[in-house]
């Protein structure tokens, strides 16, 4: 079973994917901190950092650019990162989209026309997948600058982890507007609607919504027409980067039934899409009393040791509750391992405290990284 360091050996991009609420952001930060502690220059890109964690890393103002975590914090946590560096960035999808538009615009006027267009504002803010796509866009941009050994991307929370994979296709399709261009043609005087059917659609939509989108669309396409090729080519290259051998997808999930099923599903989809799957990280795993199912004499032994039958009984019943959860978790994880046929499944135990600083991240890393990792200069704290 490979640990995170082995999984990321020779990789320059690590994409942490999974559904909301499974600890993806914390896991991404822990991986980044762990790799930095092993001498790498690492940047972690996140959408929604935990405020207290960001604060504790001295990243009170996370903008749309990377900021370095003070190396002194590593020393305080008892780790010598050597030449390693940890950088963090909070992704702003809208700002990234605006940057992309600016980059592809032939001139300032064209840029402003798009940035102020109602259709553009809708797609850059709310079109399904635009946040995901912009996360990858930023990843691509920073990767091209070649300033880091490793980039860790914490993917945006979405209903379905797969939305992420579909995002570039959907967005470029939208921007290309190929289906729309069959029906309407930008002309010198705005947009001309071709065909009776199309004009009916426009008029129905206008009547129902009260919004006349023809003008906005006309403007949008006129302004975008010069950029479509650039967008398409860019999306193509982003896709190539995701499929490249230097990229690794790590799936993050929880130990209950549905998150495990989702991880299995996501793994299958990654393989189908020929994307480089690295392994699964299962968070918050209960391991209490794993492997023991002998109840006989436990209550007596506890009473004898503690000298309080009532307390002993509560300790025993508490243990039972947790053992039931631990049994479920190990069943689910066994199932996950069967489905993944030999791929790495890394378990992170359910910790007693919320993780909110570097020391907490290193505590997680005791599970993510092998204990005797050769490159680690110092042992990251003991609990």
């Amino acid at each position: 079973m490979k640990d995170v360091e082995q999984l990321l050996d020779g990789k320059s991009i690590c994409i942490c994917a999974g559904s909301g609420g499974v600890g993806k952001t914390t896991t991404s930060a822990a991986i980044a901190a762990g790799m930095a502690a092993r001498g790498k220059r690492v940047a972690v890109l996140t959408i929604d950092p935990a405020k207290r964690l960001a604060d504790s890393l001295g990243l009170t103002e996370l903008g749309n650019t990377e900021r370095q975590v003070d190396p002194a914090l590593f020393s305080e946590a008892g780790v010598d990162p050597g030449g390693g560096e940890l950088w963090a960035m909070m992704l702003d999808a809208k700002a990234t989209f605006d940057e992309v538009v600016s980059k592809h615009s032939p001139d300032e006027e064209a840029r402003d026309r798009i940035l102020e267009n109602r259709i553009y504002r809708q797609i850059s803010n709310a079109l399904a997948g635009s946040q995901e796509y912009m996360a990858m866009e930023k990843l691509f941009e920073i990767h091209q600058e070649e300033r880091y050994d490793l980039l860790v991307l914490d993917t945006p929370p979405s209903r379905n982890a797969l939305d992420f994979l579909d995002a570039p296709r959907r967005l470029t399709q939208f921007i290309e507007g190929r289906s729309l261009q069959l029906f309407i043609r930008p002309s010198g005087f705005g947009m001309r609607v071709l065909g009776r059917g199309t004009s009916v659609i426009f008029s129905v939509l206008k009547r129902v919504t009260g919004m006349d989108l023809i003008e906005d669309l006309s403007e949008f396409f006129t302004a975008m027409s010069g950029m479509v090729a650039g967008f398409r080519e860019r999306a193509q290259r982003v896709n190539e980067l995701l499929a490249d051998r230097q990229t690794s997808f790590l799936v993050v999930c929880g130990p209950a039934g549905e998150p495990i099923n989702e991880a299995v599903y996501f793994h299958r989809k990654l393989v189908e899409a020929k994307l480089p799957f690295g392994g699964v990280i299962v968070n918050k795993v209960h391991a209490e009393g794993r492997g023991s199912d002998v109840d006989e004499g436990l209550a007596e032994a506890l009473t004898e040791l503690i000298g309080d039958a009532d307390l002993a009984e509560r300790v025993r019943s508490n243990f039972d509750d947790y053992r039931a959860l631990a049994a479920r978790d190990s069943q689910n994880i066994a199932k996950l391992k069967r489905e993944l046929r030999g791929s790495s499944v890394i378990e992170v135990p359910y910790l007693t405290e919320d993780v909110h600083d570097l020391a907490g991240l290193f505590e997680i890393n005791r599970s993510l990284f092998a204990e005797n990792s050769p490159d680690l200069k110092a042992t990251a704290l003991s609990a």
Partner: protein, 338 residues
């Protein structure tokens, strides 16, 4: 094609025909006179993974126990509660899970199709429109349209006289709303839409829906939180935004998954002292008790934080110690949320 198929403005059905709203005294809007289960629409929202679906169905069971015909609408739900009720996945149709408890899963595509069918004089025309590529393109580009048709369907479900043919009315519609950001978006859309569009049937419906969901006698919000750092922060922000930006009534805030208070601090100390002398299962059991009591302390700190940060009362729901949630657990939770 005229606008004749739309109900004339004066005749758009109101959710309530009684005079309940008269009970609300001016100047005291924060004091709800109508309990959450007495309302027509109840939104359940919170950060991803906090147990919104579980709480939504517990509220649903509680309402049916009071004899109310109730439907739970799953909107972009991550969890899938249908399995608990021995059902395969729920789609875009109303299914009865138990006596008086129904469920439906709302997705914008189906909601758009249905909306068009209801708005257009000929059903086939709505279908045709829905299938056209150019329409789906335009629908995606129209600001707020997807959210509007979704919340429009929620509103339709809550009408005393349904627009859907042969459909019976519900006493209560519980919305298993999307996580924080999208949940706010959903509730805010009618207001925004009414402002952007100004004219047309949808703008009219939008302002009607907005006045319904901001009417504290007719609609309310339940926020679900977890006793962890991030969910607590998000809950406080969410509450403020819901009140200040939209003006909805916050009926309950639940701190979900609270551990039982099994060991006091003196006992924790005692157990910690006993641990070095223990081995095997005894040691594992004691370790589990110490961990539990530490997590409990951490949870209580988060509960205090949430109480400090929120304007409304915070109630707690217990962690359910079970490998898989079953109907019996939902029923227990239903008793607690009644």
């Amino acid at each position: 094609m005229g606008a004749a198929f739309l109900p004339p403005i004066g005749q758009v059905p109101r959710l309530h025909t009684d005079t309940r709203s008269a009970r609300r005294r001016p100047g005291l809007p924060e004091c709800p006179t109508v309990g959450p289960l007495e309302k027509r629409i109840l939104f359940v929202t919170g950060k991803g993974g906090v147990g919104k679906t579980t709480v939504a169905f517990a509220l649903g069971l509680a309402a049916t126990a009071d004899g109310k015909r109730t439907i739970v609408c799953e909107v972009a739900s991550q969890e899938n509660a249908s399995r608990v009720f021995g059902r395969a996945e729920i789609g875009f149709h109303e299914v009865e899970l138990r006596d008086n408890l129904y469920a439906i899963s709302l997705d914008p595509d189906n909601a758009t199709r249905e909306y068009l069918e209801q708005q257009l004089p000929v059903k086939a025309m709505g279908d045709l429109l829905y299938r056209s590529k150019i329409f789906s393109y335009l629908a995606a580009a129209t600001p707020g349209l997807r959210e509007m048709v979704t919340i429009g369907k929620i509103w339709e479900l809550a009408l005393p006289e349904r627009r859907t043919k042969k459909a019976s009315p519900y006493d209560l519609v519980i919305v298993d709303a999307p996580a924080t950001g999208h949940g706010i978006g959903l509730m805010q859309t009618p207001k925004n839409f009414a402002e952007i569009a100004r004219v047309g049937p949808m703008a009219h419906q939008a302002s009607l829906i907005n006045s319904t969901i901001t009417d504290h006698d007719q609609a309310g919000v339940v926020i679900v939180a977890l006793p962890e750092e991030m969910p607590v922060n998000e809950t406080a922000t969410l509450e403020a935004e819901l009140i200040d930006a939209i003006g909805v009534s916050i009926d309950r805030i639940y701190m979900n998954a609270m551990y039982p208070d099994r060991f006091d601090s003196a006992e924790q100390t005692r157990l910690t002292g006993a641990l070095p002398k223990a081995e095997g299962d005894v040691a594992a059991a004691i370790k589990a008790a110490i961990d539990e009591s530490r997590r409990c302390e951490s949870q209580r700190r988060q509960l205090e934080r949430l109480r400090d940060l929120t304007r409304n009362e915070v109630e707690t729901l217990p962690y359910v110690f079970t490998p898989e949630l079953g109907i019996e657990h939902l029923s227990e939770l239903a008793e607690l949320v009644r």
